[in-house]
Symmetry: C2
Subunit: 215 residues, 2 copies
């Protein structure tokens, strides 16, 4: 198994807050995400700034695109995003059109998706998926369980590079020990830590410790 | 049956283009939507400008929110939106949290939603739904059919105020003659018309003609 990437999700509601945060952690992580909250609050200006500040990092625009895939993807690419996300309930044509305009499209798994959908995405050449514990579901008391891990494993076996996200902390990473995770996405456990840089560094180190031995 | 509203969806990729368009049609319609493309491109600045220019119209932020409902809704409300949208694959906690922060939440129906989901939304106090023909699905040759109309009817019978959108033109409006539509959402059939103001006015007039008689 390859060592999973670490991605920081910038989910601030203002560009200035996001920039203040990313300055502390941008160099520590592999992938920098302009989160949905940030994209909706500040638009593609946020992606442009991240691209300008981190020319060598992978930049993801977490648009959760549901329609008009072509235009949304074009705008993301023009702003400098490498990857963008589409919601799983988007139609296949929407995903295909988005995928044509951006280096890579990631499918965000929320709600009622099926493995048949997943087969269709793969067949359309879309091989990245993001498995979520919804932030709001976590607040409502749900958490990572065997059901989630089984799904992530199955998606990986199907051929997806699977990113996982939602309430990930240093303590929850070992849960994924036997799971082929492509990327761990962390938001507030890094950005709202007392020392965000140290939090990112520790998470990266923990990932290396857990997954390094078996690589 | 009440006479359906007319909503214009502003799906330009720049604020200046959106403002140039809305200046021609804003007074003709009942509801002005900052489309997803526009929200993602320009952020809440777009909603703020629409609010400033049209203090008396209903302003919708078509965020298609999938997570972090509370924050996204707070940002929409702060920018001046009356309503916002959530994607149907969002979890119920996400929808509930969003609904707490904004006057009204609309559920956007894409992909695999079920009538059981719809019951849950109603139970959570969410009684607006947006029934779509995806723009990309339309481009792929799909169109409005009996299956769609039946679903819209059933949702209306369940108690939803249903907006319909996707490839609506003057010619397609009569299809909905016997359907209780809350709002017709038109995008490019208005915004890309040679004379957008006249296009909006004609659509409004056609709606009155079709639905006025039976009201």
């Amino acid at each position: 198994m390859a060592i999973p990437n670490l991605q920081v999700a910038l989910d601030q509601s203002s560009l200035s807050d996001a920039l203040g945060t990313v300055q502390k952690v941008g160099e520590e992580v592999d992938i920098i995400e302009a989160g949905t909250i940030l994209c909706l609050a500040e638009g593609m200006q946020a992606v442009k700034c991240l691209r300008a500040l981190y020319p060598d990092k992978i930049i993801v625009a977490d648009t959760k695109c549901a329609d008009a895939g072509s235009t949304v993807a074009e705008n993301c690419r023009a702003a400098g995003a490498d990857w963008m996300t589409a919601i799983c309930s988007a139609t296949l044509p929407t995903m295909k059109k988005a995928a044509e305009e951006i280096s890579e499209l990631q499918v965000e798994l929320y709600g009622n998706w099926t493995y048949q959908d997943a087969e269709d995405w793969l067949e359309a050449g879309i091989s990245q998926a993001v498995y979520h514990q919804s932030r709001d579901a976590l607040l409502a008391g749900e958490t990572w369980g065997e059901k989630d891990l089984t799904r992530v494993k199955r998606l990986a076996e199907m051929g997806f590079r699977v990113s996982v996200t939602g309430g990930l902390e240093i303590d929850t990473l070992p849960l994924f020990q036997d799971v082929e995770v492509f990327t761990f996405i962390a938001g507030r456990s890094i950005t709202e830590a007392t020392d965000p840089q140290m939090a990112a560094r520790k998470m990266k180190q923990t990932i290396r410790e857990i997954f390094g031995a078996s690589s």
